[in-house]
Amino acid sequence: MTSAQPPVSNDFWRTTRRSFTAMIRRDGFGLLALVVLALVILGPLYSVVLWAFAERWRYPSLIPTEFGFKFWEQTFSRADIAAALPFSIVLSLVVTALSALICLPASYAFARMRFRGRQALLLSFLATNAFPRFGLYISIAVIFFRLNLIGTVPGVIMIQLVNTLLLMIWIPTAAFQGIDRSLEEAALDVGASPLRVFIQITLPMVMPALSAALLLTFVNTFYEAQGALLIGLPRIVTMPVLMYSLINSQLVTQYGAIVSFVLWLPSLLLLLVAQKLLRGGYLTAGFGV
């Protein structure tokens, strides 16, 4: 009985090879672009991961000569890291939540209402991104200094909120605008109240875009360093700020590598969770793919 069956794996490889060569013939440029992109994106990551687990890595060997977790223990026994990691996570969550609270109603208004200066206001959110950030931060820092906000948690939250405005207003505005009004009219027509229409019809339809906006806002805030550095120091130290100082002032390369590796994890986890929670293609739809 078994002998009658065709060699499955052989067949599989043959078809795979065939489709692969067909792909190269059909779209050689695409494949080349893929390889280059993979090298550019994955190359640096590869180096960081190797350094994070290396105990000994000296020129001229291509990979570390000894792997181990020695530096992990050392890194996490540092008091500054033990304090900064949970603080950074909570800070990012708070900033994301506040940003949503402020921006989502605003984006609904931008999408649905016609008022004077709408276009100018909408464009003004680009302004914070159109100029070098640092200049903006310096002038804000001067004001914050007078208001005694330097080195305080509210100060850092406020400076980070500035960064989130563009994403949290533009993406949801586009999403609300993209919804066909007759879908809402149809719901009104079968007897739903305006509030119910918003909750059960409008909101689910903009959810992919809102999730994308929330996710990007969280990740961006989590990695934001300039503003946090300028406004937060000396008392407030977030993970990226700490990473800067570890990379710049430590002789041990592994500290920086381990911290950057750890900094990856939240966004990676979040992306995975989001992909699981949201239906297939839902999130990518939110990113406009």
Binding site: D180, S182, L183, E185, A186, A187, L188, D189, V190, G191, A192, S193, P194, R196, Q200, I201, P204, M205
Partner: protein, 357 residues
């Protein structure tokens, strides 16, 4: 299920009168079509009945009770939209059950109603599909099921089939008519497609420029268009400029039988249906000499374009049994026409049967 009264209904957008003093009654279980070119205000009229637009003045009453002040979610109307408006994040079942759930019905009752309504539109078994998995025709059928499952007093349809291809459009039209007959539901159907209106409606309201031009049974609309607009808009028509003097009707040097009561004027229009021009043997009294310019085979009949000296080019329908070739010289006799004068109702002229022999 119900009677609808439209009373002096007007809608103004800025300086534009979208609907100008509309007034009519749709009887219980009647199928009324509102027909007109795009921009004539027909959709605005329907949207006022549904509650999506507030009228500038006037009243709407369902079974004698005013609904003008009610928002759309409180009106006993249900609408099928022109665009596909199924909610993409809900299955077919959820789409249809949404309105029922709002009415606080039990799960079992909702199940039964959704099932029945899907059977009515021939889509049993599609409950778990998402709208994106349905064709355009199927989506509009679900939209129809979603509307009728609520047992509305008035069913409103805003060009629901206009984005479907021609064959499907005709099939869904027949299906809609059958469902409407079966449920005896009062329906108002807006369309710019006269064939759709003529085949569906018990009565047609023809609209133009915000004004209702005529409300009548389809055959009456076709046979006796009350205004020039309706005459031109419904079906094919030859419109000819004419003049009258001392009781004699003149058309490009030809004389036509004029009825009594025609006033002297040079602003008269004669409306002549292509099927009311007969090809007659040469030498028939009062016949017009013409030359055939073009012959178009349209299946069960032929449409020919003829050139009549001093009158112009006319459309004529002839049966297939008659041999007509391009370049032929023929004699034509108008056997029925309408005379329009001074915005008044037209005067109908029927040539006595004796003249044909």
């Amino acid at each position: 299920m119900a009677r609808l009264d439209i009373i002096h209904l007007t809608k103004q957008f800025g300086n534009v009168l979208a609907v100008n003093d509309a007034g009519f009654t749709v009887q219980d279980s009647e199928f009324m079509c509102i027909l007109g070119p795009s921009g004539c205000g027909k959709s605005t009229l329907l949207r006022m009945i549904a509650g999506f637009e507030a009228p500038t003045s006037g009243d709407m009453q369902i079974d004698g009770e005013s609904v003008t002040a009610l928002p759309p979610n409180k009106r006993p109307t249900a609408m099928v939209f022109q665009k596909y408006t199924l909610w993409p994040h809900m299955t077919v079942y959820e789409n249809i059950a949404f309105g029922l759930g709002l009415r606080g019905l039990s799960r079992a009752v909702i199940d039964q109603k959704v099932h029945d309504s899907l059977a009515l539109v021939s889509l049993s078994g599609y409950e778990t599909r998402y709208p994106a998995q349905l064709s355009g025709g199927q989506q509009q059928r679900v939209a129809l099921a979603r509307a009728i499952v609520l047992e509305p007093k008035i069913l409103l349809l805003d060009e629901p089939f206009s984005s479907l291809d021609a064959i499907l459009r005709v099939r869904l039209r027949e299906e809609l008519k059958r469902i409407q007959r079966r449920l005896k539901i009062t329906a108002i159907f807006v369309t710019h497609d006269q064939e759709e209106a003529l085949s569906l409606a018990d009565r047609i309201a023809v609209m133009s420029g915000g004004q209702i031009e005529q409300i009548d049974h389809p055959s009456t609309i076709y046979a006796n268009p009350q205004t020039l607009f309706v005459a031109d808009f419904i079906g094919a028509m030859n419109l000819l400029k004419a003049s009258a003097q001392d009781g004699v009707l003149r058309l490009g040097g030809k004389q036509l039988t004029a009825p009594n009561g025609i006033q002297s004027s040079d602003k008269i229009t004669i409306a002549l249906r292509p099927e009311d021009l007969m090809i007659v043997p040469d030498g028939t009294p009062d016949a017009w000499k013409a030359q055939v310019d073009q012959v178009m085979d349209l299946g069960h009949y032929r449409k020919i374009l003829v050139d009549v000296p001093d009158v112009g080019e006319l459309k004529v329908y002839v049966t297939k049994s008659m041999t007509v070739n391009e370049g032929d010289r023929v004699s034509l006799l108008p056997i029925r026409y309408l005379i329009y004068q001074n915005d008044a109702a037209p005067i109908e002229v029927n040539r006595p049967a004796a003249a044909l022999t």
